[in-house]
Symmetry: C2
Subunit: 476 residues, 2 copies
């Protein structure tokens, strides 16, 4: 086990020892949580055994890896482009994997530099200009379209489906079907019905796995494999963390400790902001993925016992060192309403020397002699962490020994499990999202969907009631 590259949680600067008791957590506070924490681990284990948490068993589904790799082997060289159409949990995991593990300029590499894998476009919005631009740069006959929707009815993805099906039929005639692959529920939904009728290639999303917990299903794995990512290693990393997080002792289970620390900082110390500051540009997608996971799982009106609680801290992505020149002023001097989690990579793949020790250097830049960008990002991280700590700003650090499919798989599973534990601390249903229904119904009503006619009338009245005042224009 000793030589495996893994993930570490350092929470020294969350503690009162380091930043004082006003903003820091005491050992006593953590000890006070131990019985509950231990109980929550047992509850989750029971729920898992009862089959209620199938996302926890995804790392062991090696069959899907084999199936996906077979499909990819068969089709990858046929296409110059893979376009993934999905939104929310059907895109954020894909983007996370793509930005973390592929070349930063994957789509600008030559076919050979991409080892024959296609260019990857993950398109998660319906902005008409953005969509139109996508159509400008891909030729349908060179392109595989991957439509992903768990429910099979997501309005954004199904709209894109209708547009692209028409385009493909017009351009390619009967051969169009070979340019489509769907990922959706195995039985329910419009997209499944169409897939079965038309005979599209398809993968299923395992039952009971919610969108934001689906990165380790075909949702995330297919597009990853289509760009050459080692998807077996992603699952292995997740399985590794599963084993590392079995203890019901908070001091020996990093996912449990992470959940407890965030909960105590929010509930006990009034920190409603969770800043995820990645000292790696490549992890920006993983940070966005985390922001959905945390916000949608814990941002709830009701507790499990139906009390009104309006809870949930707000996750915010930041990028080191970039945001030292943007957000750091606020983190250093603003209100004490934030917990900062640094994400750090111990060893980058590339070493980029700035200037050799023996070379002449411009006056004023002598201190850079003998240093590399690697030293620079490391010292900026240490310098910033120390400065925040001296201002008594609670912070912890997730360190990846290196960034690879194996450690990224670890990170996914660690955060998913931590969020599940956090749901217990917050006493919410971690796996639903009732709050988004109202907006969806309004949209469908406004579009004229039959069953919402009554709602359409109500909305129209609402919108007309709106005062003409309370509006100021620039010059008109």
């Amino acid at each position: 086990m000793g030589d495996k590259k893994t993930v570490h949680l350092d929470f020294h600067n969350m503690m009162a020892d380091s930043i004082g008791p006003e903003h820091g957590i005491t050992e006593e506070e953590l000890k006070g949580l131990e019985p509950l924490a231990s109980q929550y681990v047992k509850e989750l284990k029971d729920e898992r055994i009862q089959g209620k948490l199938p996302f926890l068993d995804l790392p062991y589904n090696q069959d899907i890896v084999v199936q996906i790799l077979e499909t990819v082997d068969f089709i990858k060289e046929k296409f110059k482009n893979l376009v993934v159409l999905g939104i929310g949990g059907s895109a954020l995991g894909n983007i996370a994997i793509h930005t973390a593990l592929n070349h930063s300029f994957h789509n600008l590499l030559t076919d050979r530099e991409r080892n024959g894998f296609p260019r990857i476009f993950i398109h998660d919005n319906i902005d008409p200009d953005g969509f139109s631009h996508l159509l400008d740069i891909i030729k349908p006959h060179e392109t595989l379209f991957n439509f992903t929707t768990k429910s099979g009815t997501t309005v954004e993805t199904m709209s894109q489906f209708l547009i692209l099906i028409r385009l493909l039929r017009n351009k390619l005639g009967n051969g169009y079907k070979d340019h489509i692959i769907t990922i959706t529920d195995s039985e329910r939904g419009t997209l499944r019905a169409i897939t079965e009728r038309e005979g599209f290639q398809s993968f299923s999303i395992p039952a009971g796995v919610g969108g934001r917990y689906s990165v380790l299903t075909p949702v995330g794995l297919f597009s990853a494999a289509m760009s050459g990512v080692d998807i077996g290693a992603l699952l292995d990393g997740a399985a590794w963390v599963d084993k590392a997080c079995q203890s019901d002792n908070i001091w020996e289970n990093p996912a449990l400790m992470g959940a407890a620390l965030y909960f105590l900082s929010h509930a006990g110390k009034n920190k409603n902001l969770l800043i995820m500051m990645s000292y790696s540009s490549a992890l920006r997608g993983a940070a966005d993925w985390f922001c959905q996971l945390w916000a949608e799982s814990l941002g709830k009106k009701f507790s499990v016992s139906k009390e009104i609680i309006h809870t949930g801290s707000t996750p915010v992505k930041a990028i080191g060192v970039t945001d030292q020149h943007s957000q750091l002023q606020l983190y250093m001097e603003g209100p004490y309403d934030k917990v900062i989690t640094f994400w750090k990579i111990e060893r980058f793949i590339n070493t980029v020397p700035i200037i050799n020790k023996e070379d002449a250097v411009e006056s004023g830049l002598e201190y850079l002699q003998g240093h590399s960008l690697n030293d620079l990002i490391e010292t900026e991280f240490e310098g910033t962490r120390l400065a925040l700590t001296e201002q008594k700003r609670p912070n912890c650090t997730i360190t990846l020994d290196e960034l690879s499919a194996f450690t990224l798989g670890q990170l996914f599973y660690l955060f998913e499990l931590q969020t599940a534990y956090a749901g217990k601390f917050y006493k919410v249903n971690t796996f639903d999202q009732p709050g988004v229904e109202a907006g969806k119904i309004n949209t469908l009503a406004l579009l004229g969907k039959k069953e919402f006619e009554q709602r359409k009338t109500e909305i129209t009245v609402q919108l007309q009631k709106k005062k003409e005042g309370y509006r100021i224009s620039c010059g008109n």
Copy 2:
């Protein structure tokens, strides 16, 4: 004036009329601020006349437009790539313009589709892998490097400068100088000294304009012009808003009203989060630009009268419709700690029909007949705004009649002015950033810069003091 495309602020749903007095603002509260607001307008006008706020006069610097366009005309066809090296205020404005006004896949277009303008890379981090990837895909002899640092000493940018100068000299010999253009202070700093000695092409940043207020100087304008953006129209838009925001009456000055609303929501209603949710993918860069502007200007420990206040709300970017599937659950049901500002484009450039009224459509998708992506994004915006309003979540909307250089220039100036007014309400120095110094000094000390030797010793002691405990690894 009537036919100019412009920008509008609709704050109906910030008001108690719409969402009730617990979370909404009453007319009386706004009226109570009127005398102060009026005074602040006068103060800013006085400071402007005294030359203390030169960023407010940038829209009228048409000379710089002429100079930049002359330079661009002369050099643009010589280069396939423009690489901008800068960070914070030396990158965020550039990215904002590039994402808003250029094709979403600018760098994947052919030379002809780009009208002979180069590919644009704005590189604002020192991640060694990201930097290495950049060098993989650009050839030095085809590339112009634009180094931007206001102080001329920014460690990240000067490190990149040292690396790239070595590369260029090695590859291109004496001709390397033609591949460099610097944008920095007209007199001070290492980069200015080198520029003068070597005879690099260069533009100056006007004295007294801080990084986060510099988008309408050569910092933002040069790279914009190098991709064909109408930089004259950017300045015209800014000037337009300057004229539209002269009134000291809060009800007639959108920048002043915006500042007052955000301030009252934070100070009076405890909303410490300012969500900027853009229903346009193209405005994501502008949202990041705003986040620096707001956070760094208002996130302050001291008031102007030196009281300790630790103030500043936290700006957060969100993207509609994408984040309806990620953050909306939290916005709908979580704590009442947020103000949401929608950014909306009234008319997109492209219209993308989903399915014609007369065409056959899959069962279950009939409601999409006759609609376009334009209708869909519009109704999703309306549906979401209404749902949030019904949950008494304060929200306002910035509408752009269309997205163009003229309206983007308006948006920049509107938010800069609003932030300056907000600084008055918050009683802070809007234009400094003392909080970032400590981290910078730590970094320089750790790198071994001579004048910080004492600090290096202190840091080393600090880092060694750190307990071995409070760290949990996944399996090692």
